[in-house]
């Protein structure tokens, strides 16, 4: 019996070590989040933001950000400007209702973090890096970051004109542990 037990135990231990259990921290997006944009002429916010966030400071390699913005939720504070922004000439929200970001890699960068992934706006997907900070709060945490996009890269609006080509996005997303 002993001759069988020990080899079986060894085999079980060997098999068990092949499977590594990873505990990934999932976060639930909470309100009030803020997704705002500014340029030399137009500025405003996107009111609807959703997605899945996995992030663990101890294991950034397992981090995943799959988030989306409802393009039609844009608000510049002016009804005419909102209508114009949603039109075919700009975001064309009927055809491209969602702005999406899917991360591929998250790494430490100085005092903060850097996520690299694909940003899709207006049907155009482009590799985009977003620096961000992660701050723990009493109830959860806050992800915050800023980055700039060139609207011409995503074929939003015509080149030139009154609206600047560089659009700065400021994001602040409070999250709760799932």
């Amino acid at each position: 019996m002993k001759k069988i037990i020990y080899p079986v135990l060894a085999l079980l231990m060997l098999a068990g070590s092949a499977f590594t259990v990873i505990s990934v921290q999932n976060w639930q997006i909470a309100e009030p989040y803020s997704i705002s944009f500014t340029s030399n002429d137009a500025s405003g916010i996107f009111k609807t933001f959703s997605g899945n966030i996995q992030f663990d400071e101890q294991d950034p390699s397992s981090a995943r950000f799959n988030v989306s913005i409802d393009a039609a939720s844009i608000n510049t504070g002016n009804g005419l400007q909102n209508k114009h922004a949603k039109s075919e000439e700009w975001f064309d929200v009927t055809k491209y209702p969602v702005i999406r970001y899917d991360s591929r890699k998250v790494s430490k960068a100085g005092n903060g973090w850097l996520m690299e992934g694909d940003l899709e706006i207006h049907g155009v997907k482009k590799a985009t890096s977003i620096p961000f900070t992660f701050s723990k709060t009493a109830k959860g945490a806050v992800f915050a970051g800023s980055f700039t996009v060139n609207r011409n890269d995503f074929k939003i609006g015509k080149p030139g004109g009154d609206v600047g080509e560089l659009i700065k996005l400021d994001i602040s997303v409070p999250v709760l542990k799932k």
Binding site: S36, T76, G77, N78, G79, L80, N82, K83
Partner: protein, 129 residues
Amino acid sequence: MLKKSLALGIVAGILSGIVSLAYAKLYHSSLGADFSRVASPVGIIASSLLGGVLAALGYWLLDKWLQRRGEIVFNFLFVILSFATVLAPFGVKLPLDLEAPELFPGLAIPMHFFPALAWFTLKPLFIRR
């Protein structure tokens, strides 16, 4: 003439302000859009009063300079300016947390005509030729 004109302007301004407030309340209860942070009751009354007083001064000046033609010129100018100011609400940038900014012109534009309406309605009571 200046006293009568100012009296008319002030009364017309107050009346148009009251009507504007009633319209704002109706607009809010009908459509659910609340723009009181941007167009407050005090602001509405003050704007209407200012419109009335400016109309009074304009009427007095035109009556003094153009005499017989002063009134018709004033009437045209008052109406044209009322129409011209209608463009302003379309260009206003509201606070970003206000819902349905596209409903704001529907609230503000009619108010731009109330001072002229009040003026023309009350004028026979104050100024008789």
